[in-house]
Symmetry: C2
Subunit: 308 residues, 2 copies
């Protein structure tokens, strides 16, 4: 399968590596000059515990993407999705499928502006990865990928892609309700990412505080209420269990929003997590004050830190 991975950050590198190792023809697309240069010069290096491996893999800038592919896997930062799809439209032909594996909510609407509905596949993954330095990704841990074609006509191809990914060891499955998994993951992120960034603490530190449960439960309630209006049923009690189980597994972890905002002074994805819920809450007339204030505090901190 000819696959382009649009966004070769940590997750794009992980998927690119695993797919290439199992014989797929993968091209990475990214805009980070040092990363591109390192991979072009030395290949993509991956570190997994004690083991390291290096592979040759093509990496290009969006402007250089001209060759049609079977599948595009979108792995950009949330706020870069539209811009990336616009820049690589030369490689998205009439039958090119575009799989969206971004974090957060609201991406299907962005996808629909650039890709015909019949070619959209929405997905969600709980794999993790990190970038150690330009050209070097850290793997470790395990995960899954779920995906579902946005249109019935795309199911067959989506299932082929599931098979390709599963062969690559990515624990892929075809889902009949990917929106549920997307919302559930977003809700987990919605309780942890912004709170850790605002409080400048890791997940264990935040969840151990005397007020964590009150904050977490109100955020869950707001996600649940808005999800319901969006046709996704999340059960608050089950969601609480899921969040607490997840938080216990990654107590020492600083979520990506902490890495972006506090460690690297970069823009965050809050508008696609708590900010999305607050915006939709307003549209639906559902009060979402915790998501609203959390979003406002994150944007205030972005301004104070003069993020770029």
């Amino acid at each position: 399968m000819k696959i382009a991975i649009a966004g070769a950050g940590a997750m794009g590198c992980r998927f690119g590596y695993m797919l290439t190792k199992t014989g797929q023809e993968v091209t990475l697309i990214d805009e980070w000059p040092a990363h591109i240069e390192a991979i072009q010069k030395n290949g993509l290096k991956v570190v997994d515990g004690e083991n390291t491996d290096t592979i040759d893999i093509k990496i290009i800038r969006p402007e250089e993407a001209t060759e049609e592919v079977d599948v595009v896997i979108a792995f950009t930062k949330s706020m870069k999705l539209g811009e990336m799809l616009e820049k690589i439209k030369a490689i998205i032909h009439e039958d090119t499928k575009v799989l969206c594996l971004l974090n957060g909510l609201g991406h299907e609407d962005t996808m629909a502006k650039y890709v015909p509905r019949k070619n959209i596949i929405m997905g969600v993954t709980i794999w993790t990865a990190g970038i150690i330095e330009p050209g070097v990704a850290r793997l470790g841990g395990t995960g899954t990928v779920e995906m579902q074609a946005a249109d019935p006509s795309g199911v067959a191809i989506a299932k082929e892609l599931v098979e390709v990914m599963d062969k690559a060891g990515l624990n892929a499955s075809y889902s009949e309700d990917v929106h549920f998994s997307t919302w559930r993951k977003a809700c987990v992120n919605g309780t942890m990412n912004a709170t850790c960034a605002i409080l400048d603490a890791n997940i264990g530190e935040v969840f151990d505080t005397s007020t964590a449960e009150a904050i977490v439960m109100q955020i869950i309630a707001e996600f649940v209420a808005v999800a319901e209006k969006e046709g996704v049923h999340l059960d608050p009690a089950a969601m609480k269990d899921y969040v607490y189980t997840a938080s216990n597994k990654v107590r020492g972890h600083y979520p990506s929003m902490h890495q972006d905002l506090i460690q690297n002074h970069r823009f965050t994805e809050v508008d696609f997590l708590n900010g999305f819920v607050a915006r939709k809450g307003k549209e639906y007339g559902i009060p979402t004050p915790y998501c609203q204030l959390i979003t406002e505090l994150i944007h205030a901190k972005e301004d104070i830190l003069k993020v770029k």
Copy 2:
């Protein structure tokens, strides 16, 4: 007048200094060993711009307070008020007036547990001061004091105290509605103190952010709604003007809650500002989610920083 100042922090020292200089018989009461020792050994030193002055002033621990006084001025941290009144009950006789000049809301109920209503005087001041090191206070700036007897029988004495303070240069006045001034000041603090602490920024930095106005206006709306139920009318538009005028005068300032929490890892007074509004809002059935979440975030940060 025999005056005891219960709580010899920055503000207690300022008032103690100014009252002593105009001939009043002032005793400071505090529990900070280094501060007590320094003042007992070297006197109280005050620094006002280029000028410094040192006076002899009595300072004792609460346990040593046995001599009856005419007036107690309470200047403790909010959470220490009840404890202090309990410890100094030996000096509060049948006719001893107790003037409360603490920041924040809800202190009249605490006062009423230790002092008969006829002897309570509620007040509010916008003087400022700082502690440079044990035994040394920084003055600077100007301010006012307003006060009102809690009971009509206390008016005459309260007016005498106004005169004594006014002679000391404290710009004192008798108020017919001290609750209004108390709420208005608390609302200003409610917009600035916790937000600067949570965002680790000064007032100018917070008020310059793109989301500051949305946050400030919702906090004001919650204070206004709860104040109304407490019999105090604050006008939202006038309150906004007042907050923005105040913020413009102290743009480089880190409010006391930032000093307590972020700089010194001490407990904050949030339960007497946003926390009070959230608690009363719950009692009255008025939604106060911003004050609630702000209070929860401050308490979470207190836990994370292991404050004492």
